[in-house]
């Protein structure tokens, strides 16, 4: 048999069912039910009419769209040059540049907001330009990785062929490379549009009353104005737009996919002419600067006070009373502790559920695909929508869980679960099915064979998934904005509150916390990259390529 284990040696159905029951129940209670509640609240004639007839609603919708389009277009334009040099040239620091871009991409949104708040002059703070600048730096990695990965496999000889026909570099780019890159450009564009359309953390930190996106408006109406119905309508409106964009992007990618003979190996070379060397150096340094400067500014600002350089922000982090009589109302160190506790629980939930779900998906064949798709749904739903749905669902007895300590970690786990499953399922699926048959011929029962042959492959990808889940939980802001309660603030919530207040010490403390969050997230990502070969191995196996180890 080519695909799957032979029927006789397959894991018994009852075992698969037992594995699947936990994830299905979790998904049903904490995702599908809140989602249905949200829809039920939104589908109400008068609420819909009332919300949609307000001019303010359309102002917000228009702003959401145009800032997302502007952010996407500028990110694509800025990202093409680094995508090109990463795809086509070998240069010192190339891996590091890709690593830095990726690290920036996985940073929490509030950190990115804080970093640009620290970097930009006061005149630009709280403007749409600050928001767009942060979106651009944040999402550069999408262009560089998506378009760059495609570009490096485009035959370089096709570009050379155009040059031998008289086309200048620019002509080659416009006539040959750009049209052939279109599938990857639409993919990257759609991803960036989705991220910036649902931008929440960056705008909470960098935006103002005039820069409200639908996400912000959902949060504002639900938590500040108590307009649950209106917020629900906007959530659904946003989901509808997202569905259209995803549908369009899928079609566009299919339409523009051409039968290009992509080269299996990359064709990178060192820059030879002085002009090329200058170009590569400038683009690499410029890109790195765009990424690192905001973070550096943030760290530096944590050492600034009204009277100059100072470590006060760091030394007073643990003191609820900053100066006699001046109380914070929140304790930064407690927020750090809360975040760590939340991350530990969220990671445990996501890892346990993700592990059994992945085992069930890999063992169940066709039926597993449904569970797989179901567990991916939270990715397509914004974290704000998830948090909002949970807030309005679990607010009445017997399910008034708003004060339960586990609600925030469960929300985080829901956001992280798709990432754990994606990391793990691929590896499990790549386990050679004939191994289970081989174990059976040696006398192992189907369950025993599965336990001895398949389950051992789980641990390494699960470690990667755990680190990702921890990073996601530490930085999660959208769902937490709805679910966290006073005294239970997490780091991102505390950063948002501190940066929203006046006073240089409080601001500096906000930057200090953002710096801590950056270091924690980047450390986790570096941890993940050490296990990178696990995912690489699974990928190659999935493509039917042999693996030399």
């Amino acid at each position: 048999m080519k695909n799957g284990v032979s029927a006789a040696n397959r894991l018994p159905r009852r075992v698969v069912a037992a594995l699947a029951v936990g994830p299905i129940a979790g998904l049903a209670v904490f995702y599908l039910w809140p989602f249905a509640t949200l829809l039920a609240r939104a589908i109400n004639g008068s609420t819909v009419a009332d919300t949609l007839s307000r001019g303010a609603t359309w102002d917000v919708a228009w702003f959401t769209v145009w800032q997302a389009v502007a952010s996407t277009v500028i990110t694509m334009l800025v990202g093409l040059a680094p995508a090109y040099i990463v795809a086509r040239f070998e240069f010192p620091g190339r891996q590091l540049l890709v690593g830095v871009l990726t690290a920036i991409f996985v940073l929490p949104t509030v950190v990115m907001g804080a970093a640009f708040l620290a970097l930009l002059p006061d005149s630009l703070d709280r403007t749409v330009w600050a928001v767009i600048a942060a979106h651009v730096a944040f999402n550069l990695a999408v262009v560089v990785r998506t378009v760059g990965a495609f570009w490096e496999h485009l035959p370089i000889d096709m570009e050379s062929a155009a040059a031998t026909l008289g086309a200048s570099r620019w002509r080659v780019f416009v006539d040959i490379s750009l049209p052939l890159l279109r599938p990857s450009l639409s993919a990257a564009g759609a991803i960036i549009f989705l991220f910036t359309f649902t931008s929440f953390g960056v705008i909470r930190i960098l935006g103002s009353a005039g820069t409200r996106t639908l996400e912000i408006e959902v949060w504002r109406r639900a938590t500040q104005l108590g307009d649950i119905g209106g917020a629900a309508v906007l959530s659904v409106l946003q989901l509808a737009v997202l569905a259209v964009v995803v549908g369009w992007s899928t079609r566009a990618q299919r339409r523009h996919a051409r039968a290009v003979d992509l080269r299996p190996e990359q064709d990178r070379r060192r820059a030879k002419s002085p002009g090329e060397r200058r170009f590569v150096t400038l683009v690499a340094i410029g890109t790195a600067a765009l990424c690192i400067a905001p973070l550096a500014a943030m760290a530096i600002r944590s050492f600034r006070s009204s009277s100059g350089w100072s470590t006060t922000a760091w030394t007073t982090l643990g003191k609820a009373e900053v100066r006699p009589g001046i109380r914070l109302g929140l304790d930064p160190v407690e927020a750090l502790v809360n975040s760590i506790q939340n991350a530990a629980w969220a990671t445990s939930f996501a890892v346990v559920l993700g592990a059994v779900a992945s085992l069930a998906i890999a063992a169940a064949g066709r039926g597993g695909r449904l569970l797989d798709v179901g567990l991916m749904l939270p990715i397509g739903t914004s974290a704000v929508t998830i948090g909002f749905g949970m807030l309005i669902t679990f607010d009445t007895p017997p399910v008034d869980w708003r004060a339960e300590w586990w609600l925030v970690p469960v929300g985080h786990a829901l956001v992280a679960l798709p990432f754990v499953v994606r990391t793990t399922v691929g590896v499990l699926r790549s386990v050679d099915p004939s191994l289970q048959d081989a174990a059976a011929t040696l006398g192992a029962s189907p369950t025993r064979a599965w336990w001895n042959v398949v389950v051992p492959f789980l641990w390494r990808p699960l470690a990667v998934g755990a680190a990702l889940a921890a990073a996601i939980s530490l930085g999660e802001f959208g769902a937490t904005s709805f679910l966290s309660r006073s005294g239970g603030e997490t780091l991102p919530i505390a950063i948002d509150e501190l940066l929203g207040r006046t006073g240089s010490l409080l601001q500096a403390q906000g930057y200090a916390l953002a710096t801590i969050l950056t270091v924690a997230t980047v450390s986790l990502v570096i941890g993940v990259s050490r296990f990178h070969d696990v995912t690489g191995l699974a990928h190659r196996r999935a493509n039917g390529q042999t693996v030399d180890r």
Binding site: S160, A161, A163, T164, L165, R171, D175, L180, A259, K272
Partner: protein
Amino acid sequence: MSHLRVDQIGIRFDTTDVLREATLTVERAEVVALLGPSGSGKTTLLRVIAGILRPDSGSVWIGANDITSLPTHQRGVGMVFQDNQLFPHMSTIDNVAYGLRVAGVAKAERHERGAAWLDRVGLAGFEGRVVTELSGGEAKRVALARTLATEPSVVLLDEPLTGLDRELHDRLAIQLAQLLVEHSITAVLVTHDPAEADVVASRSVRMDQIDGSD
């Protein structure tokens, strides 16, 4: 004065000398075949002439002009690639007329000239065909027509007939030889097939005769 002169070209990849003091002259309207085993630097030499690779030493001349530091698109050197490198997002006629488009030739004229070249390579009526659906032999001929349509001063042919079945190969080799003679084209043909060299080229040289690397 010879039309194309490659003078003491040296090029290294990492620590390996791929070419060392490679020297070759080609007269106007002469077709020279470069013979040699795989890895002997034949294709590398073509790429240096086309400006796709920069040599570490030596120079390339066309007539009295040193073109060593000219970018590819300003050299007037056409090249037929081993795997054709047709542009998959363009129709057959747009591929053939691409060089004319870059040169600023008006659409009607470039289509007319492109169609004439398609006719010359035996593909009349193929204008609207999707290049990814052409057979191996058809794709080779389109690649040849695309290169010749720009009337380059030197044509480089990198194993242009590799991968075809024997009968088609022999037929195309004769057709190619006729085209090159009819249009008095100066060309360098890279091949590892001495019989093909005999049919297409007016003179054959072995890589070890013109290059000092191991």
